[in-house]
Every structure is written in C-alpha cells, then in structure tokens.
C-alpha cells in the first residue's frame, strides 16, 4: 500500500473485531473510508466511517493557494533576460514621461495639485507599478482557450479563477522585486522625488497596490475570457490596451482633467483604481480620509470584478467547445 497516514487523524467508529493497536496505520480516503489490513485477525477489509480530517478546509485551501502563488513567483522568475530588457524600456520611458510632466508643471512648479517632486515620484513609481499590476501583455488565458489547453486547467480540483489569481499574485510578487525596485531607484538619482511624510501612507499604499494587482488581474481575466466566445481576442485586447492606458492615469495623471470628468470616471469605471489610486495614495495628493475612500473604491471594484470573473467562467464552461482531439 503506497503511503499511509496514521489513523490518529480521525475517530474510527463502529469498527468490529480489530483493535486499532493491531495495525499501526491504515489508509484514510477523502470519502471517509478507512482501509485496514487485518493481520492475524482474519482476512478481508473493514469499512468504517472516520470523522473529517482535523485540519480545517480553509487552512488546506490557503496552503493550496500559497503553493500556487509560490509557483507563480518561480515561473516568472525564470525569464531573466526579458526582465532586464523590460527594465531598460521602463527606465527610458520614465525619463521621457518625467521631463514632459515637469515641463507641464513649468515655472509655477505645480500642476493639477502635484508639485514637481510629487510628479517625479508619480512617474518613476508608476513605471515600476506598470509591470507589477501588469496592465498589458497578458494573453495566457486567451491562448489556452484558443489552443484548447484550457482543458488542463479545468481538470484540476481548483477553480480556474482562483488558480490564475494565485499565480498572478506570485508573478506580481516577483515583479515587485525585479521590476518595481529598479525604476524606483533610478528616478531619485536624476530627479528630486517626493517621499511620503504620513505614517499611515505606507500601509495604505501597500494595500492600494495589492488591490490594484487583484483588480487588474480581474480586468485582464475578463478581457481574455472573451476568447471563450470569440476565439480571437485581438480586438478586445486593443480596446483594453488603449482604454486602460488613458483611463488608468498612465499617460497623464487623471487630475489634469476637469473634476466633472475624472470623478465619475473614478467611481463608475475600474480604470483609475488600477494605477492612479495607488500613486495618488503614495504621493499624498489628498488628505487621509480621501486616501482611505480611494482605496475603498478600489476594493469594491476588485470584489465586483472577481465575482464577474467567476460568473463569466461558469457561463463559459457551459458552452465550451474544445476542438480537435
């Protein structure tokens, strides 16, 4: 018998003849069935019910989630040359964007409520965050749907949305080290940057970045999931790339727009929560209550869109067609 688990995991009830001592170990199946080898007592098998395993399901679930997250970290850390190339690009564009925004601030030394130092931080941390939330370039799900490899994901005992989210958190963790740190270090070498002054900003910013990662994942998942219906997702992807770049505050801070435009955008669409919110929280553009409110909006969107992912995935599975073998 391959591998055994001590019977101490559950309570054996209604077990005739065999004393537990005769056999130190048996096999406990998930169904709650116990196999015992009878040594000396007779031949045959005894079926009994065991209480469920003492480890709560939630803990098991977290262990699974953590393992998938760790694998996501390792998987993405294997592409080192790509990371180096990406960093160089991000830094080059960091200079461009930073000079443009500083020119906008001009002699007045401020624009849309940001001073020159805040603008520099906005740009350089933003260049790093871009790959942490991974605004662009994720088509793994769509590719797997197109090729039919999605079958493999459906055959695992984990919901695909959960599995992909866990992987993505691992990827984001790696990106936070490999892709966020370099631009955030290069920026201060050449520009005068803003460093947060309120103690509350740091935990809020960490929360905002995490929420942004989850939210961005959900957006990308939804865009990719259109492949279930369309097979080819180039159209939705282009729309997403254009829309998210402008509306998330990557090309310019959204506060440059009139208030009557950016406030509805912020609340009614998930885009500003992707990038603008974490950066605004970090550079302390607003007082503490507004910072908290912005993060709350983010969390709301993240929960809403994750739920949407689950729903879309379930609908898609019902009409899934896997072609060719």
């Amino acid at each position: 018998m391959a591998g055994s688990r001590p019977l101490g995991h559950g309570v054996v009830t209604s077990l005739p003849i065999v004393a537990l001592g005769t056999r130190p170990a048996g096999r406990v199946a998930r169904s709650g069935r116990v196999w015992l080898r009878l040594e000396g007592n007779g031949v045959g098998s005894v079926t009994a019910t065991v209480a469920p395993s003492t480890t709560p399901n939630v803990i098991l679930w977290f262990r699974t989630f953590r393992a998938i997250t760790a694998s996501g970290f390792r998987r993405y850390s294997t592409y080192r040359q790509a990371a180096v190339a990406g960093i160089v690009t991000n830094v080059v564009f960091g200079f461009l964007r930073c000079y443009v925004l500083l020119a906008v601030a001009g002699g007045a030394g401020a624009a849309a409520g940001y001073d020159r130092r805040q603008l520099a931080t906005f740009v350089w941390v933003g260049q790093g965050l871009l790959t942490v939330i991974l605004l662009w370039g994720w088509t793994e799900l769509a590719d797997r749907i197109r090729t039919g490899d999605i079958t493999g994901d459906l055959l695992r005992p984990v919901n695909p949305v959960t599995a992909y989210l866990a992987t993505d958190l691992g990827r984001a963790g790696y990106a936070a080290l490999a892709r966020l740190v370099p631009p955030a270090l290069v920026g201060p070498l050449f520009f005068d940057v803003y460093v947060p002054t309120r103690w509350s900003t740091l935990p809020l910013a960490v929360g905002a970045v995490t929420a942004a990662v989850v939210l961005c994942f959900a957006c990308r998942y939804l865009v990719n999931a259109t492949a279930y219906w369309l097979t080819d997702v180039r159209g939705p992807l282009i729309l997403w790339t254009l829309g998210s770049g402008v509306l998330a505050g990557l090309y310019f801070p959204l506060r440059f727009l009139p208030e009557a435009v950016y406030v509805p955008l912020w609340i009614a669409t998930p885009f500003p929560s992707l990038l603008q919110t974490p950066l605004d929280v970090l550079v302390e553009r607003d007082p503490l209550p507004v910072q908290v409110a912005l993060v709350a909006v983010q969390l709301g969107w993240a929960v809403l869109l994750l739920a949407a992912c689950r729903l879309v995935q379930r609908r898609a599975e019902r009409r899934l067609v896997v072609q060719g073998g």
Partner: protein, 370 residues
C-alpha cells in the same frame, strides 16, 4: 463489483455554420456523440477506439466534466462530472496525449511538488507514489529540466506521473502513446500494464495504436459517428467479423489442385502455388497440417494470428453491423432495446452483436469534432 462510470443516452451536439450560397450561411447541428451507453466497472481496463472524429475525445471530455453533455446522464465515481467537476478532479487522473497539463516553465520536480498541494495529497503518500513512478518510468534523468525542454517521450512520462500522483480511482488516457518512439511507447505500455495488474485503478484508454489495446485492454469499445458499434473483448470482435487464424503452408512442389480440408477453407494460393493459406474455422492447426502433409511435401508452416488492425479498418469503413444487414428488424430492435433496458448493456451482454450494435449510419448529421 462496483460501477465507476455509467453513461446513459449521452449526447453532445455542436453547431457549425456551413456556407450555403454566396453570402448565406446555414447553422447545422451535428452530434459528435449520439446516444452513448457505457458502463465501466472498477478495475476494468477499457480500450475506447474509433476513427478520427468518431467522438472519442468528446466522450472523454464529457466524462471528465470539461464539456457539458447536450443530453443524457453521466456518473463518474458517483459524481456528476460537470456539476461536481472540482470534486471529481480529486478522484480521476487525465492524460491528453496532445496537450500538456504540466507547467511549461517549471522543472518536473517542482510541477510534481505543486501538484501535491493542488491535490492536497499527504506528503508521505505523494513521495511513495513518486518513488514508484520514478523507478518504473525512469524519470530521474530529467526531473530538474523545465518541461518546455523535455522531449515528447520524457514529457509523456511526466504527464503520466502527474496524473497518478494523487492516486486517482479512474485514469483517462487520450492517445498517450501518440508520437512516441518504440522505447518510450514500451515504457508507457509496461507502466500501464503494471497499473492494471494492481487492479484498483480503472483505466479508459483511447488510441489509434491497436497494439496498445491488445497489450492492455481486455474490453474494447469501438465508436463511430458517435455511437458504439462494438463492445466486448478483442476475441469477440474477431468472432463477429469472421476473422480467423491462418495457416500458411509453403510447399516444395506446387500441387495441381490444392486439397479441400474440412473446417478450413482455402483463402489464398500464392507464389505460383508454392504457398497455400487456409483459414481455421472449425479445424485445428494439426488437422490442416496433417491434411496437407498427406498430399504434399511441406517446406514450412506458419500460423498467423488474425490482424486486429484489419478487422478494425473494416469496422471503420462499414460501421453497419453485419448482423444487422442480415436482419432487417435490427435497427428497430436496437432502438427499442435502449429504453427497455435502463441499465444499458453490460460488458458480457454486449459481446452479443445484435444487442451491442445500435443503428450505425442512423441520423445523417454526425460530427467531425474530435
């Protein structure tokens, strides 16, 4: 014996848009699987074969919960595959020869480790199973290599291991030996045979390589156009299609008139009469040899086993049941047999041709979706 898989009236339709005229397109409904009844007992090793597009993979995907059946009732391990897919996933293992289920960028070792957590397998159990697979499938040479760098044969051995590490009750294999070289194929076959001998894993194997089936499976289910056209042992198949063992006799001197032997009709005269081929119907090898030795001097005698490939090829070309052709009531009675027999044909019953072969060549719309 307990039933691990039961499917009744299983049907899967796909819609295809077909060009009709310059701009017009017509939506057609095609059935890839068309009223399939299948029961598999625990520990059985089932070969599930059919020509391309017969509905093999579609059936497997419905049994594993990936595809939602259009109609019919399926239970695998007592669970409804689609509704309880994640629970079922803990109890089955699946290998699709044409798709990888491993993580492309991780080494095998890490993939296996991740699977342990995904399937929540106790560490000791996992280690024991992995040890066994490493020994039987000779994995040690490439455990540290990322999956994307493995050869096909290595990857397939990894896939098999990955499918077995959580100790599944049912193993579904969809063309596991496709594209493998002789050595890898033998390794995979040997491993599966070993698994079958242990007897607690049920195995459902689809393949185009009939040698896989001959080596591994006692029971053979042939589907065509989404319907079962044969369900029984390989011997049953030969019996049904009249394939016989052959005696090939090489003579020193050709006979002017080849002898007529009772129970062994002459099948072929070749090499200017130097070679005679008799089919063994009721006669034994000894009868034929004795009969020939009496009238001619024998140089060589060989007994040729019936060729399963040939039988199956005949089955594919004309899926209509030979029994049916003789019996005009065949199709009607087969249709009635379905509802009248709610449990469907059991493997032993199914060996009986008229019952096991439903109307092949029935509805015209049948699918070409694999």
């Amino acid at each position: 014996m307990t039933e691990v898989i039961s499917a009744r009236g299983l049907r899967k339709e796909f819609t295809v848009r077909v060009k009709a005229g310059r701009l017009r397109r017509v939506t057609q409904v095609r059935a890839a699987v068309d009223g399939l009844d299948l029961r598999v007992e625990r520990g059985e090793m089932l070969g599930y074969i059919g020509p391309n597009g017969a509905g093999k993979s579609t059936t497997l995907k419905m049994l594993t919960g990936v595809l939602t059946p259009t109609a019919g009732d399926v239970r695998v391990c007592g669970l409804r595959p689609v509704a309880q897919r994640t629970r079922l996933a803990l109890r089955i293992g699946v290998v699709f020869g044409q798709r990888s289920q491993l993580w492309w960028d991780l080494p095998l070792r890490e993939s296996f480790d991740l699977l342990r957590h995904v399937y929540r397998v106790p560490a000791a159990e996992h280690a024991a199973r992995l040890r066994r697979c490493r020994a039987l499938l000779d994995l040690d040479g490439f455990l540290a290599v990322p999956v994307r760098q493995l050869s096909l044969g290595q990857r397939m051995r990894g896939e098999l291991t990955a499918a077995l590490l959580h100790g599944p009750e049912v193993l579904f294999l969809d063309e596991p030996t496709i594209g493998l070289d002789v050595v890898s194929r033998q390794a995979v076959r040997g491993f599966l045979a070993e698994l079958g001998r242990a007897g607690d894993t049920t195995l459902v194997l689809t393949t185009h390589d009939l040698a896989d089936i001959e080596r591994l499976c006692r029971r053979l289910v042939v589907v065509d156009h989404g319907r079962i056209v044969h369900d029984g042992t390989i011997a049953d198949l030969h019996r049904r299609y009249g394939s016989r063992r052959l005696v090939v006799a090489d003579l020193d001197v050709p006979l002017p008139q080849p002898p007529v032997l009772p129970g062994a009709p002459l099948r072929q005269v070749a090499a200017d009469g130097h070679r005679l081929v008799y089919a063994l119907e009721s006669a034994g090898v000894a009868d034929v040899v004795a009969g020939l030795a009496g009238v001619a001097s024998l140089r060589d005698v060989a007994v040729v086993e019936p060729d399963i490939e040939e039988v199956v090829a005949r089955l594919y070309r004309s899926p209509a049941d030979p029994a049916q052709a003789a019996d005009p009531a065949g199709p009607a009675s087969a249709q009635v047999a379905g509802p009248a027999d709610p449990v469907g044909p059991s493997p032993t019953q199914a060996a009986d041709p008229p019952e096991s072969a439903p109307t092949a060549g029935g509805p015209a719309e049948t699918a070409a979706t694999g």
